[in-house]
């Protein structure tokens, strides 16, 4: 109760101070479904408690493609929103065009550099200046499995790539689809990067997808990655092309399929179906990637505004996003983990705790790598080029791994 009173009085105090120059923030986002919409609602309330007004600018459509089109139009016409949900390398693109505003003063006052790992802040900075605020961290290299199905087939939930194929064979023999998958380019790339992380190791993964080292891209290890990737195709049902990721997740939930390689947003589907982590479903690192962490960070980029009151509101928004209170509520709803490493994690479930532990450990061991499939590792151009090679190879029964790596190196070079 006392804690609540302190909180209430601080809020009252801050709002009293801020009321003098209350501004409006317009926020472009595409979090319109279920848990995501709820999370945004929390941010809105917290900002309104500080006396600012919130103008919601939600553009529906999962990957945010339509939102980006709208944003470009608004930005070119000189009327950008205060904040927009932009992530990864796109932040650099926008900053390079001179649209984003400098947040260094907020970052300094709030000590962002101390509480957020450098891998994360690097994505948020352009030429050393903060231009965006991280909201959450997703781990992409997860394997989701239904233990009941494994028990029925007499198989073990795999932790290495070899075990994966042994178990997959058993599941297949028992008439269960071993791997639930949706045949869309980004999902193919998600599985591909999990295999690459295992076979190449973190260092070569970075060389290939961040630095685009020709020798690694066309090397023998990469041939092996593609060979394993193609082998995995045998354990996916033939109807997968075009399937959405959440449909694939529901196949694991209802026992039609044994496992799925997908980021931690899949947890939301399990929870929504009333399943309990550790009992009805388990989350493990993707085969062979224990201790490694492929990160995908959602963030808000802050646009340069002319109205001084709105700038104040914008800075409050930036500050609020990184407060422990918001980080907790938001990430509990979203299935991801907070970007702050100094948080009390008592309310989070076992998957999130595991994720947080790996996040901290991998940050020091060098096993924390950006996700290629989700636009954190490289520019959209190179990412698109890799997508094309990967998805084409995966779907072409005659695809040859050796030829494909040569092609991969070539297209990456061309797109750079």
């Amino acid at each position: 109760m006392r804690k609540f009173a302190t909180l209430a009085s601080t809020l009252a105090l801050t709002s009293a101070i801020n009321l003098a120059y209350a501004g409006e923030v317009e926020v472009l986002h595409w979090w319109t479904s279920g848990g995501e919409a709820k999370s945004v609602g929390v941010l809105k309330e917290m900002l309104e408690a500080q006396g600012h007004s919130w103008k919601d600018f939600a553009v529906a459509g999962g990957g945010g493609e339509s939102a980006m089109t709208v944003l470009k139009t608004r930005a070119i016409s000189g009327n950008p929103p205060a904040a927009a949900q932009i992530k990864g390398h796109d932040i650099q693109e926008w900053a390079d065009l001179g649209f984003l505003s400098n947040l260094n003063d907020v970052a300094k006052a709030e000590k962002w550099d101390e509480v957020v790992p450098a891998v994360v802040t690097n994505v948020m900075k352009f030429n050393g200046d903060y231009v965006a605020v991280p909201v959450n961290v997703h781990r992409v290299n997860w394997l989701w499995a239904n233990p009941a199905v494994f028990e029925k087939a007499g198989a073990k939930i795999p932790t290495t790539m070899d075990e994966f194929f042994v178990s997959a064979e058993k599941l297949k023999a028992a008439g269960i689809i071993p791997l639930a998958h949706g045949g869309q380019a980004w999902q193919d790339a998600t599985v591909f990067e999990a295999i690459a992380l295992d076979i190449l190791g973190s260092e070569d993964y970075n060389k290939a997808f961040v630095m685009h080292d020709d020798a690694v891209l066309s090397g023998d290890k990469m041939v092996e990655v593609f060979t394993v990737f193609k082998k995995m195709r045998n354990y996916i049902d033939s109807d997968s092309p075009g399937r959405d990721w959440n449909i694939a997740t529901s196949m694991v939930i209802n026992g039609q399929a044994g496992m799925q390689i997908m980021g931690d947003w899949a947890k939301g589907e399990f929870i929504a179906a009333g399943k309990v982590p550790g009992k009805d479903f388990v989350c493990l690192p993707a085969p062979g990637t224990d201790g490694q962490f492929t990160f995908n960070i959602d963030s808000f980029a802050m646009f340069e505004l002319s109205n001084a009151d709105n700038v104040t509101a914008q800075k409050s928004l930036a500050k609020t996003i990184l407060t422990p209170e918001f980080q907790e509520v938001f990430n509990l709803n979203k299935g991801s983990i907070p970007v702050r490493t100094d948080m009390d994690m008592s309310k989070f479930d076992s998957c999130a705790l595991d994720s947080m532990a790996t996040f901290k450990a991998s940050n020091t061991s060098g096993d924390l790598v950006p996700s290629m499939a989700h636009g954190l590792a490289t520019t959209g151009y190179v990412q698109g080029a890799i997508y094309d090679v990967v998805t084409n190879f995966f779907n072409d029964p005659d695809g040859d791994p050796k030829e494909t790596v040569t092609k991969l190196a070539r297209v990456v070079k061309a797109a750079k």
Binding site: L97, A185, G242, G384, N392, N395
Partner: protein, 290 residues
């Protein structure tokens, strides 16, 4: 006064639309052409790139695949829908009962948008959901129809859906053409002892040449601008095996931030349309004048 008005009125009335066409069609064509020669990525910029984007385009496997797909899709779609449309029109023209009702049934698919057609056919052709599953449930377990999820065959599913949608429309065009043919010619031929197939083949169909012309023009532009159908039916997949140039252009210009490359592909599409349509239009129109 009245004379001046009469002289200027048509020009005044036409000028807004001429202005709009100049700016919104030719102006933007020129603008796209200019962008295709720049380094435009995320947003338009004016760093001169020469023919770089065109070189990149030619080396891009996905672009080559999408052009081949357009060729397969376009040719099959135009030929099949015209043959089917003509046949349906001829059969309907035999003074059958309930012609109006049947005509409406065949014409109805045209009232749907390609998004609806694409989604419906996606369900029908999905092996785990539609036709194949139904046959399996009925006991015909060896039945297989997995074109939608097959790398080699997916482009043909586009043909199926597009033909289903458009052949009724082609039928209506031919039916109108058939009704316009002077029945005395047919009667004269019958008196001369010509059989019905001969009459159709030698007399009626040649008379319908202008209808063929319109049908080819209309269906070929449907084929080239096909975007919604492929988006709804296969999204270019599996992989990018059923990609079409319009989808390629949209993906690169708007979602991958490669506006220069997208503009280059748009210009290539325009060039393709002109290369096919202009000679055809020219020869048809010249023939008609003579």
């Amino acid at each position: 006064m009245f004379n001046t008005l009469q002289k200027w009125l048509p020009k005044i009335i036409l000028s807004p639309s001429i202005f709009l066409v100049t700016v919104c069609i030719y102006g933007y064509v020129a603008w796209t052409g200019y962008l295709s020669l720049t380094h435009s990525r995320f947003l338009p910029n004016f760093k001169w790139a020469g023919l770089l984007q065109y070189n990149k385009l030619m080396e891009n496997d996905r672009w080559v695949t999408s052009c081949i797909n357009l060729l397969i899709f376009g040719v099959l779609f135009i030929i099949i829908s015209i043959i089917l449309g003509t046949l349906l029109a001829i059969l309907l023209d035999q003074n059958i009962r309930q012609e109006g009702a049947i005509r409406t049934i065949y014409l109805y698919p045209m009232a749907l948008s390609f998004i609806v057609t694409g989604t419906a056919w996606k369900w029908i052709l999905n092996p785990g959901l539609g036709l194949e599953k139904m046959m399996h449930d009925w006991g015909w377990t060896s039945f297989e129809f997995n074109w939608l999820v097959s790398n080699d065959m997916s482009v043909y599913t586009l043909v199926i859906a597009a033909v289903w949608q458009s052949s009724g429309f082609v039928m209506a065009m031919f039916l109108a053409g058939l009704r316009g043919i002077d029945s005395s010619i047919v009667k004269a031929a019958q008196i001369d002892g010509a059989s019905m197939p001969t009459i159709y083949w030698k007399i009626i169909l040649p008379c319908l040449r202008p209808v063929f012309f319109s049908a080819v023009i209309i269906t070929s532009h449907i084929a080239i601008k096909s975007f919604d159908l492929v988006t709804a039916l296969t999204s270019g997949g599996p992989g990018y095996s059923s990609d079409l140039p319009a989808l390629f252009m949209y993906t690169h210009a708007f979602t991958r931030g490669q506006m220069g490359l997208g503009a280059a592909s748009a210009m290539m599409m325009l060039a393709g349309v002109l290369a096919i349509l202009v000679p055809y239009l020219y020869s048809e129109l010249r023939n008609r004048e003579q």
